[in-house]
Amino acid sequence: MFAYIVRRLFSGIVMLIVMSFVTILLFFSSAVDPARVMCGKSCTPERIEQTRKALGYDKPAVQQWTAFLGGVVKGREYPADEALRKAAPQLVVDCHAPCLGYSTVTQQSVGSTLWTKLPVTGSLAIAAFIMWMVVGVGLGIISALFKGTLLDRAIVGSSLLFYAFPTFAIGIALYTYLSLKWHLVKIPAYTPISESPSAWLQGLFLPALTLALVYIAGYVRLTRAFVLESLSEDYLRTAKAKGLAPRKILFKHTMRAALTPVVTAAGLDLGGLLGGAIITETIFNYDGLGKLAVLSNAQFDLPMIVGIVLVAATFVILANLIVDLLYALIDPRVKYA
């Protein structure tokens, strides 16, 4: 087991290194010159050249990549210029390890900016996760137990219907009607949980609901499918035949087998969400990773974008690993060596 974890972590790190290369290659060797954008319209060619050099964009992508990796491991200085360091040390910014880069747009290190956005995105993702797991899996179980009835059809049908509408249309409809027009819900805004748990929860409700609605449809169908499958297993018939209580059959025998794949999917979806819910955060003006991504894109803040992409990818890779380990925990037939 331990060897397995180490191996997976190692391959995850290798993958992140490759991804950082691909990302840097894609962004820094593309058609738009970040130095030019940063410099503004009335910029002389010399100034552009100077900015480019200061930011290290004049070097080939491979060199920029190794500098980036070096920054992650041992930190780096912006700009990396010995002469400037001696002449005017106040102009040089220290970016401590693990340094994900320095954004000249926000004048902050990428790592510290991302760190402030993480709780926002994290709250949103976890609240949505709880909602869709409770509602989606619950409805899925109900719909499987009442297979073929009107209730089953209503649940599956309505979840499919919600799934068909684009997220942003649902989000804006909820926002406009529930919040602005009928005043049923407080206007969504992020309050740290340490300040006021109730305000945190109230401000979180609508965005989390919007996000959850996207996933509920999938989870209703997934849960329904696996519960139905495990209901037809032979060991269930045996359990019934030996006179086990229906409740015990349902929770101990059906659910355990049926929910294993659901847990897998849930872990992966949560991992994906932690990297930022771009559309939901944009609709509700929620200041998380997703909104930061939109903003950085508009400002050509390349170091920030590279940072977000890598952080998001890290979450996905970690989620993959955790899910696989959970799998072994839930399902005793799975063994990793």
Binding site: V32, A169, A173, L222, E229, T282, I308
Partner: protein, 373 residues
């Protein structure tokens, strides 16, 4: 279901049956979250249609899986309805540009007389300015005919979604077959590539790469607009949706191929000295049409939604060309002020996405009846 002795004879025709997902996989995580698709397929032997009894002679006819699927599909009323809906949408998409040329549809003319300048350009009249000449009302701010814009929007949305889906499915099929069949080295690297592409946050990458890549495309296609006109934007969306869309599908194909390659007909082709390309495209591919078809119809709606989402994020095709995405993106500015506009635009996309999704589900049930969930 009855099994007659004749059934044994149908085995050779089973060359074209749907393969089953292998139960033994060297990487459990690769299939662990495939979820609803991991059910085993059915072989033609299992399924005997019973309406072939002629004058007391109990003839048991073996049928090809496609015939069986067609029979099951015909019995499945909701899916038949969805086939009609999707076919209608496709016909509409083809006809719309012609109608536009003929002047029947008029998506571009501004009708300033139909909107109220004082109230911020809202349409005059109830329900978004519905009238005989504008059956779904007019667009606020410009007074353009909404029905025309939506119908033509279906055309452009479908062009984008279809092209992206074709790229994703083609890439997924080819790489899936290669990974599944060759095993070892190539399989390892393709599987790692799949893992990597799946780990990239797709929406984020789409957004983040948009400005730079669109400029690049504009430069290489000789676009008159250096930062990218609508054509460059459309090409970008198609490329990125296609290039990010294949990995999940490749995994499914790989799983199918893993079991297919152990089958006798592949072995016999191999021992006859068939080249790899022959085995890939003449032996494997005909057996993979079922999952390809099913996933084609399921990736389509995802791409239609993605186009809309990208429009909302400001990456999509813009004015004057209508797409379902940019019409809805404009409509979400009026969820209350012009509810008809908002609702009609949203429902248009929803109906299209829903019918594709239901069609895909129905096809899956018909082609793979054991996956009846």
């Amino acid at each position: 279901m009855r099994l007659g002795p004749d059934d044994l004879r149908t085995e050779p025709t089973c060359r074209r049956c749907w393969p089953s997902v292998p139960d033994s996989s060297d990487e459990p995580q690769d299939f662990s979250h495939v979820g609803t698709q991991t059910a085993t397929g059915v072989s033609a032997v299992d399924d005997v249609v019973e309406d072939d009894e002629v004058a007391g002679v109990k003839a048991v006819a073996g049928r090809t899986p496609w015939q069986l699927a067609r029979i099951r599909l015909r019995r499945d009323k909701p899916t038949m309805v969805m086939i009609v809906t999707v076919a209608f949408a496709l016909v509409m998409a083809v006809v719309a540009p012609i109608l536009d040329k003929l002047g029947v549809l008029d998506p571009q003319t501004f009708h300033s007389d139909l909107i109220n300048g004082a109230s911020g350009g809202l349409p005059i009249g109830p329900f978004g300015g519905i009238s005989w000449s504008h059956p779904l009302g007019v667009e606020p701010g410009t007074g353009r005919d909404l029905l025309s814009r939506l119908v033509l929007g279906v055309t452009f949305s479908l062009i984008i979604a279809l092209s992206a889906t074709l790229i994703a499915v083609a890439l997924g099929t080819v790489l899936g077959i290669i990974a599944g069949y060759s095993g070892k080295f190539l399989d390892f690297w393709i599987s790692r590539l799949v893992d990597m592409v799946l780990s990239f946050p797709q929406t984020l990458m789409l957004l983040a790469l948009s400005s730079t890549m669109i400029a690049l495309i504009a430069r290489s296609t000789g676009d008159s607009n250096p930062s990218g006109g609508n054509l460059s934007k459309a090409i970008y969306i198609i490329l990125v949706l296609g290039l990010f869309g294949w990995p999940y599908f490749a995994r499914i194909i790989r799983g199918q191929v893993l079991s297919l390659r152990e089958r006798e007909f592949v072995e016999s082709a191999k021992s006859l000295g068939a080249r790899h390309s022959r085995i890939y495209f003449k032996e494997m591919l005909p057996n993979l049409w079922a999952p390809i078809l099913v996933y084609f119809t399921l990736i389509m709606p995802a791409n239609i939604s993605a186009e809309a989402a990208l429009s909302y994020l400001g990456v999509g095709v813009g004015n004057p060309t209508p797409t379902l995405g940019n019409v809805l993106t404009n409509a979400v500015n009026y969820p209350d002020a012009d509810f008809t506009y908002f609702a009609v635009s949203a429902i248009f996309i929803a109906v299209l996405v829903l019918s594709f999704n239901l069609l895909g589900d129905g096809l899956r049930d018909a082609l793979d009846p054991k996956a009846d969930r």
